[in-house]
Symmetry: C2
Subunit: 349 residues, 2 copies
DNA sequence: CGAGAGTTTGAGGGCCGTCAAGGTTTGTGG
DNA sequence: CCACAAACCTTGACGGCCCTCAAACTCTCG
C-alpha cells in the first residue's frame, strides 16, 4: 500500500483530501505545517508528497528545498497545492524540482489522477533505468564483486528528475554523495568573484558527478546544474564510502576516472595559459563533437561556450562567425555543425 | 660480498681493473660492450657499475639511459670511465644521472676510493631515509595493513640521487611507477607546440610524483624534472598496482590525493581563464610561500615563475618590481620574501 | 505583436606578449 | 684571484589580441 504525505495548514483541505485518498486505498500521513511535514517525510519515507505553498513559518518552497537536500527524500515525487492567485509563483516551484501542481480547489478526480500519474511515472522510470543501468559498462570492468554490488546499489536507488537549469548542488554545500547521470546533461562550474563562470565539467548519461567533492573535503568546490531536463540517481556518501572501503575494484575504477580528469584539466590549463581564443574555441568545439553524437549538430548557448572556453560571450560570437566564413563550421539558428574537423584540429595559435 | 659490473671494450683496462677489484674482495662481472653490459646489469643486479663512455654500438650514455629506464637498475650507483680527451662530454653524463667519473688512466687507489665512497654513500642514504620514511605521515592514516605494507615496500627500495635539472621521465615515456620524493624538489610540466612551458605540479619531500601517469594510460602526459639536487625512491608499477588491488586503504589515500589535485587544478583553471597577470602572480607567490617554510625567503628563477603563472618571463620581472615598489614583497638577488601576504591575497583583478 | 532573452556587430582601449638592448649574477679557466 | 663568457634578469618600446561598452538584430514565448 502506497504512503502519501499531505502537508497543509488549512485543516478543511487537509482532512478532505486525506479522506479521498484513504477511500482510494492509500495510507495517509498528515502534517499541519512545513516543519512537521519535513520530519514526517524523513522518518516515514512516503511514496509521494502533497504540499501547500503558502504556510506560516516554513513554506512549501522551504519544504521542497529541505527535502531535496536529503538523499533519502530527494527522489520522492512532490506535488504542490496552490491557490489560483499563486499561479505566477509556480514556475519557481517547478524549477526547484517539484513534479507537478494542483490548483485549489481541486476535485477528487483531478487529485487522484495526478497522483496515479506521478506514481506510475516514478515506477516506469525506475524499471526503465534499472534495465539500462545493468548495461552500464562504465564501471563494468569485470565480474568483480564490488562492481556487482555497486550495480545493485544503483538499481535500488530512486531516480530523481531534474529540470533544465535546476541546480543539483551549490559550491559550498556539504556533499551528499555521487550523482550518476541517467539522462540529459549536467555541467559543473565555478564562479569568479565578479560573477564570471568557468565550466569545469560536462557530464552525460553514465557519468558520475561530484566524485571530488565527496573525496576531498566536506564542501563542494563547484556548482552542478542541469543543462537540460535530466534524470539522475544519487548514491549517498555513506554507501559509496562503504563500497570504497570494502572493494578495491571500485576504488580503482574511481582512481582511473579521477586520473583521467586530471589529465584533461592539465590540457585545459595549458590551453588557457598560452593559447589564443581561436585555438581554444576550436578545441571546445571538438570536445563537444565527441561528447555529443559525432558528425551531428549540437545546440549550445553562447554563454555556455564562453564559460567553457574562458572568454567573453561577444568573443565567442565573433569567433564562430569567423569559423563559419572560413568554412570550418555551419550554423543554423544557434545550432552548430562541424564541417572540417581536421582543420579545426590543426588550428594555428 | 659486493658485486661490481665493469663495462669496457678495451680488454687491458677491463681485465686490469677487474683484477684490482677482485684482490680487494669484490665479486666482479665483466662486459665487453654496452649491450651485454645492460643485460648483465639487469640479470645480475650488481651493487655498482663502472662503464666506459666510448664504445662501439651502444655507448656509455646509452647504457646509462637504458638502465635508468628500468626500475630494477635505476638506483644502482653508476661511475663513468673516461679518457682525458672526453672531459668536456662528461657534464652530459653527470646530468643524465651518473654518480661519479674516473679519468683514465686511473690507479688502484683512485678506483677503490671512488667505489668505496659511492657504496658507502648509497648505504648511508638508504639507512638515513628509511628512518625518515618510517615517520611518513602522508600515508600514515592509521594502523591499517596496507599502509604498513606500503611503508615496508618504501623502506626496502633503493634510493636514487637526482641532480638539478635532471629529468625523471619525459612526456610520452612509459610510466615505470611512482616516485616518492625524499629530498629536494621536483616539478612536472607540459610543453606547448611552440616550446613554452607550464608547470603542472611542484613536489616536495614526502610527495608522490607520477600517480596520474601510472593510473591513466601507458604514457606520461608530462615531464618531471628536478628543481635542485634531490633524492627519490621509485615504487615500481607492479608493486603499486598490486597494493592498490589488495588494500582499499591505500586506494583511498590515493583517491584523496588525486581529488585534492583536481581541486587545485580547477582553481588554477579559473585563474588562467579570467584573472589578470598581477592576480595570478600574487597567487603563485602565496602558493610558494606555503610550499616553502612560511615567512621565509625563497629562490626561484623568473622562468620557473613564468611557467607557473602562465605568462612571459619579462612580465614576471615587471610584475615583481611593481610588487616590490608597492611594498608587497622584498627582493635580494633573485630571492623573494613576502612582506604583506594579506594584501597579496586581496589583490584586485 | 510586444517583451525579453539571447545573439551579433562595431568602436575603443588596455593588458600583456614580443622584440631588443642593457645590466647583473654565476661559473669556468687561466 | 681575476677576467671573461654565458646565463639570467630588468627595462623600454610597440603593437595586437581580446575585453568592455553599446547598440542593433533575431528568436521565442506569452
Amino acid at each position: 500500500m502506497k504512503k502519501i504525505l499531505i502537508i497543509e495548514d488549512n485543516s478543511d483541505i487537509r482532512e478532505g483530501t486525506a479522506e479521498i485518498l484513504e477511500l482510494s486505498g492509500y495510507q495517509v500521513l498528515k502534517a499541519v505545517n512545513g516543519k512537521t511535514g519535513v520530519d514526517l517525510a524523513l522518518s516515514q519515507r512516503p511514496d509521494l508528497i502533497l504540499c501547500d505553498i503558502m504556510m506560516p513559518e516554513l513554506d512549501g518552497y522551504g519544504v521542497l528545498y529541505l527535502l531535496s537536500k536529503s538523499p533519502d527524500s530527494s527522489a520522492i515525487p512532490f506535488i504542490f497545492l496552490t491557490a489560483k492567485a499563486e499561479r505566477l509563483d509556480l514556475r519557481k516551484g517547478m524549477e526547484m524540482g517539484a513534479d507537478d501542481y494542483l490548483t485549489k480547489p481541486f476535485d477528487g478526480m483531478e487529485l487522484l489522477h495526478a497522483i496515479e500519474c506521478r506514481l506510475q511515472k516514478q515506477e516506469k522510470l525506475a524499471s526503465y533505468y534499472s534495465r539500462s543501468l545493468f548495461n552500464l559498462e562504465t564501471l563494468a570492468s569485470g565480474h568483480l564483486r564490488g562492481t556487482a554490488e555497486l550495480k545493485a546499489l544503483i538499481a535500488g536507488r530512486k531516480i530523481r528528475q531534474i529540470k533544465k537549469k535546476q541546480v543539483l548542488y551549490y559550491e559550498g554545500d556539504e556533499p551528499q554523495g555521487i550523482y550518476l547521470v541517467l539522462e540529459g546533461g549536467i555541467k559543473t562550474f565555478k564562479l569568479t568573484e565578479d560573477g564570471r563562470e568557468l565550466m569545469t565539467g560536462l557530464y552525460k548519461p553514465e557519468d558520475y558527478v561530484g566524485i571530488n567533492g565527496l573525496l576531498v573535503a566536506d564542501v563542494q568546490a563547484e556548482t552542478a546544474q542541469a543543462l537540460e531536463d535530466s534524470a539522475v540517481c544519487l548514491l549517498p556518501k555513506e554507501m559509496i564510502m562503504n563500497l570504497l572501503t570494502r572493494y578495491p575494484d571500485i576504488s580503482q575504477q574511481f582512481l582511473k576516472i579521477l586520473a583521467n580528469d586530471i589529465r584533461e584539466k592539465e590540457d585545459q590549463l595549458l590551453q588557457f595559459a598560452y593559447q589564443s581564443v581561436r585555438k581554444r574555441m576550436s578545441q571546445v568545439l571538438l570536445r563537444l563533437q565527441t561528447q555529443f553524437a559525432p558528425a551531428e549538430e549540437f545546440n549550445i548557448s553562447r554563454d555556455e561556450l564562453a564559460a567553457m572556453a574562458g572568454m567573453a560571450t561577444e568573443t565567442v560570437s565573433r569567433t564562430l562567425t569567423d569559423f563559419k566564413d572560413e568554412g570550418l563550421i555551419g550554423r543554423q539558428g544557434s545550432g552548430i555543425r562541424i564541417l572540417d574537423g581536421a582543420r579545426l584540429q590543426k588550428m594555428k595559435n
